[in-house]
Amino acid sequence: MDSLLFLIFAAITVICAINLVVQTHPISSALSLIGVMGSLAVLYLLLGGEFIAAAQLVVYAGAIMVLFVFVIMLLNAGGERKKPRRLWPRYAGIPLLFLFLALMGYVGNRVLPPSGDVTFGSFVGGSAQEIGKRLFTVYLLPFEVTSVLILIAIVGAIVLARKEID
C-alpha cells in the first residue's frame, strides 16, 4: 500500500517535472510545478513530515506559485521563440544527464549502507508540536535571523519593483 502510494505520486511528480522542462509557455510550466509541489507534499506525509507537508502546500503551492502566476499574467509572457541551439549541448546534454542519474543511483545502491524501508507512521517527530519545540529551543537564533532576511527581501522587492516617482 505504501509502495503503491509512493509509486503513484512519484510518477505524478516526475511527469509534471518533465512537463515543466519541456513546455515552452511559462504558464504551463507554472501549473506543472504546482503539480510537482502538491504530490511532493503527499510524499512528505508518507515520510512522517506533517508540518512540512502543510507548509509545502501553503508556502510553495500557495504563496510562491501564486506570485509566479501573477507575474506571468502581469508580463503577458508568451512562448519561447525557436532558435538553433549550439551543437554540443544538443548531443551531450541528455547522455550527461543520464550519467549523473546513474552515478547517483550507484551511490545510493552500492556506497551507502543498506537503508531499510519507509513505513507510514513509524516516525512521529514531524508533527507541528515536535517541530515547534525544536525550532524555538535549539534553532532559535537561525529562526530569528530568518525574520531579518524576510524583512530585507520585502524592502528589496519593493525597491526593485516600484515605479519611479519624480
Binding site: F6, I52, A153
Partner: protein
C-alpha cells in the same frame, strides 16, 4: 479471493525516495540549462530546491530526528524571499528591455 502478489515490495525502500530526489534535481538542472525564458529558468531553480528538500526529509526519517524538517523549513523561507526578490528583478528587466529571453539580457557580457 486473494489479490495477486505485487511486483514491488509493500513498503518503499529509502533509496526510492533518494532516486526520486536525484531525478527531480537532474530535471531542474536540465530546465535551468535548456530553457530561455527567465521565468521558466527561475521555476527550475525552485524544482531543484524541492528535490533537495525531499532528500533532507528522507534522511530525517532515516535518522529519526526532525532536524531535516527544520532545514527544509528554512529552505522554504529562503525560497520565498528569493522568489519575491527574483520576480521583482524580472519585472524590472522586463520594464527596461521588453523581453524575457535570457539570451537578450547580455549587457554584462564583454
Amino acid at each position: 479471493m486473494p489479490l495477486p502478489p505485487l511486483p514491488f515490495p509493500p513498503t518503499p525502500p529509502l533509496t526510492w525516495y533518494l532516486a526520486l530526489s536525484a531525478i527531480l534535481f537532474a530535471l531542474g538542472v536540465a530546465g535551468f540549462l535548456f530553457r530561455r525564458n527567465i521565468i521558466t529558468v527561475f521555476m527550475s531553480i525552485e524544482l531543484m530546491l524541492n528535490a533537495v528538500n525531499l532528500s533532507f526529509i528522507t534522511f530525517s526519517y532515516k535518522l529519526k530526528q526532525n532536524d531535516g524538517h527544520i532545514f527544509s523549513f528554512f529552505v522554504m523561507v529562503v525560497a520565498a524571499a528569493e522568489a519575491a526578490v527574483g520576480l521583482a528583478i524580472i519585472l524590472t528587466v522586463f520594464k527596461n528591455r521588453q523581453t524575457l529571453e535570457i539570451d537578450e539580457v547580455s549587457s554584462l557580457k564583454n
